[in-house]
């Protein structure tokens, strides 16, 4: 695993050192809607002899990672003036200011005595000493000259993860948010004609690298979701002829049916503490919500209503659920207490479940943000599909996307980015996309096959 060996570099001032632990040196404010990407120069890292090529590759991945967040724009290396960068020396800030860079990353790639790949790097503010306010809405201020200086090591064949760790560290230091780049995405890889579709579990790095299949495709599988551990997923499979919820350990390949339900089970999701799986069971024409405790395999019925209740997703503290129900006549989003007790509804009154969507159209596949304040959903209206977010009190609905089919949002572990699948035009086949929760930075994650139902892993160890 990746170890932070040491904070290798001494901070320039005691004042700055004091502010590190509080992550107070945020220089990119990502809490406001309007964001100007932060110009940052990331020249190819210096290399100990024999490591030149891997140093170049690592630098490339760091640049691509930061660009992919939409919060950074990395400068063109052809324009760089200073060529004699060294990790031990302060850069000539003027050389970077004149080409309109604000940040600068200087790195060094080498090997440890036992053959591990190691990276040391520093992040500089080239306006050194200046007070930063980016963008103008930024409510945080801080003197930032050197934001991070760290060293990482890893087995050489995992060099991409090392690059993602570097990028996450830069991202965290400059935005004040947790990183999300050293993660994986599990999804459904789709091949074949629509009338005889093969659907396999597949997994890749969050930047689309290292795509591989996890199942052979004999049985259609749907809706994989990660546990709070990055090694376990829950999903639905048609194996045995009917939909049932499974657990799948990615590390050892072990799969097991979850529970012994008389009806079909689907729409699984882990509770945020990883100890339970919540899901739907359909039996005799009615679908309700259930919870299975993974430690003792006991099941508990969470909802009992003649309408369809499905797609449950738990709040970060586990106390509430958001789910889809058509009890009002069409699919809409509802919130309930996990223990079934009545709650005060934002729209008035007390009930065992409160409807939170009242806009025109159908709402489904709600997913509670890891930050707790928002629910992402799929909305179908006027012949189009959208991904959107809404406050857990039903206020502030915002649509982030629109297409022939946009479905199945999933949050990045830091609650910053939503991934989903899109069929852009009728019959064009589903692809994976991601969008910042502000609605900016909509981009496709390129996969080798059609793909759907993406789900984000937690940050890797």
């Amino acid at each position: 695993m990746l170890r932070r060996l040491l904070a290798a570099f001494v901070l320039l001032t005691g004042l700055l050192a004091a502010s590190w632990s509080a992550q107070a040196q945020t220089i990119i404010d990502v809490t406001e809607g309007k964001i100007k990407p932060y110009p940052i120069a990331i020249p190819d890292f210096n290399a100990d002899p024999g490591n030149e090529e891997i140093a170049r590759q690592i630098s490339e991945v760091v640049r691509a990672d930061l660009e992919s967040t939409g919060l950074f724009v990395t400068g063109d290396p052809a324009a760089f003036i200073q060529k004699d960068l060294s990790i031990g020396l302060q850069p000539r800030f003027a050389d970077w200011r004149i080409i309109r860079q604000d940040g600068l990353v200087v790195g060094q790639v080498g090997r440890t005595a036992d053959g591990l790949l190691s990276v040391a790097f520093r992040v500089w503010d080239v306006n050194g000493g200046e007070v930063y306010r980016i963008p103008v809405e930024n409510r945080q201020t801080g003197r930032v000259e050197q934001a991070a200086g760290q060293s990482f090591t890893i087995a050489p064949d995992s060099w991409r993860r090392l690059a993602h760790k570097v990028a996450d560290t830069i991202y965290t230091r400059l935005t004040g948010e947790d990183g999300f780049l050293d993660t994986r995405i599990v999804y459904v890889a789709e091949t074949g004609p629509k009338t005889n579709r093969v659907k396999r579990l597949a997994i890749m790095d969050s930047d689309g690298a290292n795509q591989r299949f996890l199942t052979e495709g004999r049985n259609q599988v749907l809706t994989p979701r990660f546990s709070t551990s990055d090694q376990e997923i829950t999903y639905m499979s048609f194996e045995g002829g009917r939909p049932r919820v499974y657990l799948f350990n990615i590390q050892n390949g072990r799969q097991e049916v979850l529970g012994n339900f008389p009806g079909m089970t689907f729409a699984p999701r882990f509770s945020p503490d990883g100890r339970s799986v919540i899901m739907s069971q359909a039996q005799n024409g009615n679908t309700d919500l259930y919870l299975m405790d993974l430690r003792n395999r006991q099941t508990r019925r969470l909802s009992d209503h003649p309408a369809i209740d499905t797609s449950p997703s738990m709040s970060p503290d586990g106390s509430q659920l958001v789910f889809t129900s058509d009890r009002g006549g069409s699919p809409q989003l509802y919130i309930m207490n996990t223990d079934g007790s009545p709650l005060s509804c934002p729209s008035g009154g007390r009930d065992t479940a409160c409807r939170i969507t009242f806009g025109r159209g159908n709402y489904s596949t709600p997913v509670w943000s890891p930050r707790g304040d928002l629910v992402a959903f799929t909305k179908q209206t006027r012949g189009k599909f959208h991904i959107g977010v809404i406050g857990t009190d039903g206020e502030g609905e915002r649509l982030l996307s629109e297409a022939y089919l946009d479905e199945g949002p999933a949050w990045s572990p830091n609650g910053r980015v939503i991934t989903f699948f899109r069929e852009a035009r009728p019959g064009s086949g589903p692809k994976l996309w991601s969008v910042d929760l502000t609605g900016r930075n909509l981009r496709q994650i390129v996969t080798t096959t059609d793909a759907s139902d993406p789900a984000w892993s937690p940050l890797l160890d």
């Binding site: 004609p193 629509k194 009338t195 579709r197 659907k199 259609q220 749907l222 809706t223 639905m236 048609f238 002829g241 009917r242 939909p243 009806g263 079909m264 689907f266 729409a267 739907s280 359909a282 005799n284 024409g285 009615n286 679908t287 369809i308 499905t310 797609s311 889809t324 058509d326 069409s330 699919p331 159908n362 489904s364 596949t365 799929t378 179908q380 022939y404 089919l405 479905e407 199945g408 009728p426 019959g427 139902d453």
Partner: protein, 201 residues
Amino acid sequence: MIGIDCSIAKDRMGLKLMKKVLKCATAAVVLGLGACASDPVVEEVAAPVTQVVEAVAAPVERAAPARVTRAAPVGPAAGSLADFQANVGERVYFDLNQWRLDDSDRAVLQRQAAWLQSYPNVRILIAGNCDERGTREYNLALGERRASIVRDYLVGLGVDQSRVDTVSYGKERPIDGGTDDAAWSKNRNGFTQIISGARSS
């Protein structure tokens, strides 16, 4: 409500339909394919409900006499899968976001029930299917609701519950890969699949 529908159907229509089906099946065996084939073929292709209604309105009587004099090749054997497909109909079709059965659906299911009564060894799996204009998880639930409605109707007509299983495929198994209303209305169906017990063709 379904219960009432079923009992009426059993009392008033069951016998008549049984005769129809038997007549049809017999005609198919003796005279060949022509007798009833037009009905289910039309039904498979016809998406809007209105067309289905027309198709089932005059199923046997119109076609059979015309074929009587013709020496026909061998048709589906009575009690075979081909017989069921050709002379009874495997699917009922649902309206958008709906799970209720209309008259044409009930007519198909009444034929299915009568046929199943004639061949008591046959076991069936009823699959509920949805079009692609919904989300996966909701459609799995909706498909299960559709499959259960079909099962309940057949059981209400006297088909032993132990012979019937249900499943939902949600929107995962369309029979038409198109992306228009015609395709979607075909893909919103309840599919009665013979699992075992049918005679060989």
